[in-house]
């Protein structure tokens, strides 16, 4: 027969083991997976789901013919064993057969994420990130001809276009300014690698870091589709609120002093 004291001691030990151990374990894997700026291979799920799904087998890394993809190690600050790439070193060259996405056994990289509607998967549908330009360090914005990013972009004139602007300083030259279009940019990072600046003036950030979101209460009145949302919105609100009381509230007895 085990004494009561022993049982209580055992239960407490168990609680400390599960509570303390679990917390340290969980917190440490979370802390090492906080890399908000990590870029994943084409067709990756959203970061949170990707971290669940990736089985860390490295088959995407093996499949990558350009050695773009690397596996994170302890100390990288990225979830250990997950694939990532750094475009300034080696960008993603957007292989048309998508060997990395295709090789993923677990579904962390999914060809479905590269497929629009009924079409075949296309690597150009990748959304690995979004290229962002820091104008102050971009030679083109200084007024110097460069176009390195524009010329190297695999979706030239779609993902990066050139805007023309008069160079006010000289009064007689044009500035050819690169502009990134977020709907098209794949985040491959070839521009980042090509940038001639010492530290790239155009660089890829993960989508959730490089994009904003206007609230639902703003509606583009000049777009038919968007205008529809007004009607949906109004109808929904009518359902939720007691319209009668809102209109009649001034007539309520409570508000009238006796």
């Amino acid at each position: 027969m085990v004494s009561r004291r022993k049982v209580i001691q055992r239960v407490l030990e168990g609680a400390v083991f599960v509570g303390g151990g679990g917390l340290i374990w969980g917190k440490s894997i979370k802390a090492n997976s906080k890399a908000d700026y990590v870029l994943r291979p084409p067709g990756a799920l959203k970061e949170k789901d990707f971290l669940k799904a990736c089985i860390k087998c490295g088959q995407c890394v093996e499949a990558c013919p350009y050695d773009t993809l690397k596996l994170a190690e302890p100390g990288d600050g990225i979830a250990n064993g997950t694939p990532f790439f750094e475009p300034r070193t080696i960008p993603c060259y957007l292989c048309t057969d998508m060997p990395c996405t295709d090789s993923c056994p677990s579904g962390a990289l999914d060809l479905k994420n590269l497929t629009k509607e009924e079409e075949k998967p296309d690597v150009m549908n990748s959304k690995m990130g979004l290229a962002v330009i820091h104008k102050e360090s971009c030679l083109a914005y200084w007024g110097i001809r460069c176009e390195a990013c524009y010329r190297t972009c695999p979706l030239i004139d779609k993902a990066i276009t050139l805007d023309y602007e008069v160079n006010e300083r000289t009064g007689k030259h044009a500035k050819l300014l690169p502009v990134v279009h977020s709907g098209v940019c794949t985040g491959c990072g070839m521009c980042e690698q090509a940038c001639v600046a010492g530290k790239a003036a155009i660089f890829v950030l993960p989508l959730h870091k490089a994009t904003g979101k206007v609230g639902d209460h703003y509606i583009k009145s000049w777009e038919k589709e968007d205008e529809k949302r007004i009607h949906d919105q109004v109808e929904k609100e009518d359902d939720e609120k007691d319209v009668k009381s809102a209109i009649d509230y001034l007539n309520d007895d409570d508000l009238i002093d006796d």
């Binding site: 374990w25 089985i55 860390k56 087998c57 250990n80 056994p105 579904g107």
Partner: protein, 265 residues
């Protein structure tokens, strides 16, 4: 040589797996690609570690059907046939911890842990890993698995991988006998649990036994030999890795691989 036949065969198989994995990365061989968590044979047959897939499932993601089927296949193989054979015949960490175990014998390193560590610790770690996976939404053991890191050290040249291997080696050598494989590794715990009723087991013959204790000397899971010299039976504990060391060192032919078809506890 006869005393090492299974050991040599195991090393050949373990190193072949590593060699083929490495060839897959460096030379693009398609015989065996991936790692010990998920691999593909001949670009056709998926194999997955059922424990890794279980962690993914409890973290809240339904893995693809190829991974699920691959895990089911491996699960059935070890549950029905092999028992805990992964640990001693496939896992590369076994090479490291066996060397530490052997060196302890050679240099007579006897350490008594300040706190006694139960061999059941691995089952608690196994349970905890599933809880942590569920709460933190990430396969908890996979992210820190030294087995995967050893694989990456060899196949991808990861320096950090060698670091963690060294830590385990020295813990096994100087701190706790059979520390990693016998006490901590939750994957070993997982295979111990599912492999208990597998068909391949070591069988002991009491009549032939001369109580020389040679088998106890080489066994990394010593408690599984509790019946040796006392009764003739299978080594029934799931913790037995079927490594065959006891068979090859026994001078009395009292141990042999055998097939078990009953379901006694």
């Amino acid at each position: 040589m006869k005393k090492y036949k299974f050991l040599i065969l195991r090393r050949i198989i373990q190193l072949s797996f590593l060699f083929l994995f490495a060839g897959g990365n460096y030379f693009g061989w398609e015989v065996l690609r991936g790692n010990y968590s998920s691999a593909i044979i001949a670009d056709y047959l998926h194999l997955s570690d059922p424990y890794a897939v279980l962690q993914i499932l409890v973290s809240g993601f339904i893995a693809s059907s190829s991974v699920l089927l691959g895990a089911l296949l491996i699960f059935l193989i070890y549950t029905l046939i092999g028992g805990r054979m992964f640990c001693s015949w496939i896992c590369p960490m076994n090479i490291i911890t066996d060397i530490a175990f052997r060196l302890r014998k050679i240099f007579k390193i006897e350490t008594e842990a300040k706190v006694s560590v139960s061999r059941n610790l691995r089952y608690y770690i196994l349970a905890l890993s599933l809880i942590v996976s569920a709460i933190f939404g990430m396969a908890a053991f996979e992210i820190i698995s030294p087995i995967s890191m050893l694989h990456r050290a060899v196949v991808f040249g990861s320096g950090a991988g060698w670091g963690i291997v060294a830590v385990i080696f020295f813990v096994d050598l100087f701190v706790l006998k059979a520390g990693w494989c016998g006490h901590i590794c939750p994957l070993g715990g997982f295979y111990s649990l599912i492999g208990k009723q597998a068909v391949i087991k070591v069988k002991h013959d009491k009549e032939k036994c001369t109580h020389c204790m040679d088998c106890f000397d080489v066994c990394v899971e010593e408690p599984v030999l509790d019946i040796v010299g006392k009764e003739s039976d299978f080594i029934r504990s799931g913790a037995c890795t079927n490594c065959g060391r006891c068979i090859e060192v026994c001078n009395d032919n009292a141990m042999k691989y055998s097939l078990k078809f009953d379901f006694k506890k």
